[in-house]
């Protein structure tokens, strides 16, 4: 089977379902996940982000390839789930009840 991510980020392959386009869809996956699932993804993805800075700085957004695009989206998902893992201790924003704020305009990539 072909890689979803660049070879340097092979450890992310089991989490390929987090390579999601669009903040709305990423947020939907976050709030339908358990804390255990979020933590498992975070534990693998966060160290890769820390190590991956110089790689990401070389990825130009013009004509970005599929593997790099998936990597970018997986790290966007990491950004989305960092709040539950690092701050809230739960998938939803505390005290936000039924409130929702939805992305209506987003970057193409």
């Amino acid at each position: 089977m072909a890689n979803v991510f660049p070879a340097e980020f092979a450890e992310l392959e089991p989490f390929a379902d987090w390579a999601i386009h669009g903040e709305r869809a990423r947020y939907a996956k976050r709030i339908s996940s358990t804390m255990e699932e979020l933590q498992a993804f975070y534990d693998v993805a966060f160290p890769l982000l820390e190590k991956g800075t110089s790689y990401l700085e070389k990825v130009s957004l013009d004509g970005i390839g599929d593997e790099d695009k998936h990597l970018l989206w997986a790290f966007c998902s990491l950004v989305t789930i960092a709040f539950p893992v690092e701050a809230w201790g739960q998938p939803r924003v505390p005290d936000s009840g039924p409130a929702s704020i939805d992305a209506v305009v987003e970057p193409a990539v």
Partner: protein, 429 residues
Amino acid sequence: MAHFPKPSEGSWTEHFEIDTEPVSYADSISPEFYEQERDAIFRRTWLNVGRVEQLPRKGSYFTRELDAAGASVIVVRGTDGEVRAFHNVCRHRGNKLVWDDYPREETKGTCRAFTCKYHAWRYDLEGKLAFVQQESEFFGIDKSEYGLLAVQAEVWEGFVFVNLDPENTTPLREYLGRFAHGIEGYPFHKLTQVHKYRAEIGSNWKLFIDAFAEFYHAPILHSGQYTAGEAAKIKKYGYEALSYDIDGPHSMVSSWGGIAPPKEKAMVKPIERALRSGLFGPWDAPDIGMSTEELPPAINPTRSKVWGMDTFVFFPNFMLLIWRPNWVLTYHYWPTSYNTHIFEGTCYFVPPQNAFQRLQQELAAVSFKEYGLQDGNTLEATQTMLESRTVDAFPLCDQEVLLRHLHSTAQSYVRRHQQRRSETPATAS
């Protein structure tokens, strides 16, 4: 303990000659008052409906549903390149002219003319009626009399405004006043990377402006923004603005911002350390062609070295936040009833050059959303309790001075409008 100087009167509130008595919030829980606001404010003031970048070409258009004003408008760039606005109403039998699938939803696109879905009357981009189906069946119809009804439209620094009052004679720039004048020259046109969010909020529109026009709540409601140890320190420190200012119906608050980048990395969460970004924006400010010191004079008006961001409240419902790391956030509040409104928050960044910068911006945008969600839900809780009318006198502190100003401005618009109406002799209808 005072960290920043206050005016000689001892407080901002007294300096601006606003009374210091508790406020009632009756203006936020009354259907009758809301009806008066629609007429006195939303049908009569300049409303920001978008940016010129949304109209990139001749024939580019978008529609806006202005529920509070009881109107839908089409904003379009004409063949001459000018931005115009029209009431979205077909002159034949009143069908809504431009919409897709759902008549109450906004839409956008590019076209050469607007054709009504009902009987195919066609209007050119300047609003002139260009075609009438079976024209000879009509009774000597003069097409020049049936163009689209124009709405006043003007552009300030790339922000497109409309004014639904045909009798309005105040040009946009004059209305926006001293703050707008002092912001001119900021390179908004370079900030074309857009993240826009929308929410339906269960509160009066002014209550959400209140939540964003004071930061007294930030160290408490948003303490999760910091690591636990820092949150406790910041709570003790509290919040004080660098300065406040008021110009007619508009107001602004200038804030310090020690967190982009933070003094100590231990203050912030791991994701913020890894991405060098957070609620205050990416720490590495992109080049916008001017340094912080060179920003136009209304931005960081005290020229403070610890300046972090300015919040401008352009009455009635447009807020502009300019952040030190060269990005901009706008808020809009579109009332849909006395206790509901649609909130829009839009982040504008310099387009990222690589995937890392893209992620830095994602973190800033998503942080805004996380804290906005806390603010938004608090409002519904506030609205329901205000409506219970259990309490009707609420003390506001000096760091909440812009709230007093907003509510008293809305009330004076309503009052003046009623006076004007009672002075004009009633006409038969």
